[in-house]
Amino acid sequence: MPPPLIRAKNMVYITRIEHFNAAHKLYNPEWSKEKNEEVFGKCANENWHGHNFELFVTIKGNPSADTGFVFDAKKLSTIIKENVIDILDHKNMNVEVEFMQGKICSIENLIIGIWNVLCPALPQGVVLHALKLYETPKIYVEYFGEEN
């Protein structure tokens, strides 16, 4: 029997942090090199640059009466590693990452791409609530799977 204050309907958010290192460039192939440099500045360097990315994955649910878990954080880590980190870590995302092909490799587009591969990989009943992605310690994006 759970202690009386732990009720079945308590919504808890649990976050797993993972990281990957990758190269990219910001480049719109429909524009000239000059226009790309004008808009994206040094991020358009055609020889690439790179970052240490930090990914925060937040799921939500009611802690199980049997385990006390919303979902086993170790299992969540394995799912993130197999579906996201192994695809992106030590890679060039413009060249090698399938879900970024045909897209400008900004962190905005990257976080949407990560959501779209991670969401279907989670077991039924595990609700993805939010992603937060740091490109540098000073720049990050958040995505909640929303359209407007």
């Binding site: 290192n21 360097n45 640059h49 790179g50 060039n92």
Partner: protein, 141 residues
């Protein structure tokens, strides 16, 4: 007596740059490079946010109270290091690594050698370079 009054203090300036690189020894086969450098050898490159901490140890100047003016140090790092390496491909864009594998160790040595002539001879410098929040090197050791 006078010597005892001269206190040595360590001062630090932190800067950062983002760059692409790969670890590769051109005298080895691709198989050897893969065996030693693993995914760091990816021919399409990968990248990091590098954090650079420059440590200066010297006596506090009586006139200024400074070991070295931190604005001068910051401008020096910006001009000599950040403008050279930020948003670059270390292997492709930077002459310093034409014949040198851009490991954290070698990048730290290169940075030290670039900055050292600009630092007064009375000040000892050490460079700490973070390749990731978990991997970092010091030079000189």
């Amino acid at each position: 007596m006078e010597k005892e009054d001269k206190k040595k203090v360590a001062v630090y300036r932190k800067e950062s740059f983002n760059a692409a690189h790969r670890l590769y020894n051109p005298t080895w086969s691709n198989e050897e490079n893969d065996a030693i450098f693993g995914k760091c050898n990816n021919p399409n490159y990968h990248g990091h946010n590098y954090d650079l901490i420059v440590k200066l140890v010297g006596e506090v100047q009586a006139e200024t109270g400074f070991v070295m003016d931190m604005k001068v140090l910051s401008d020096l790092i910006q001009k000599e290091i950040i403008e050279r390496f930020d948003h670059r491909n270390l292997n492709e864009d930077c002459a310093e690594f034409k014949n040198t594998n851009p490991t954290a160790e070698n990048i730290a040595i290169v940075i030290y050698n670039i900055l050292q002539p600009h630092i007064p001879a009375t000040i000892d410098m050490q460079v700490r370079l973070y390749e990731t929040p978990r991997n970092f090197v010091d030079y000189p050791a």
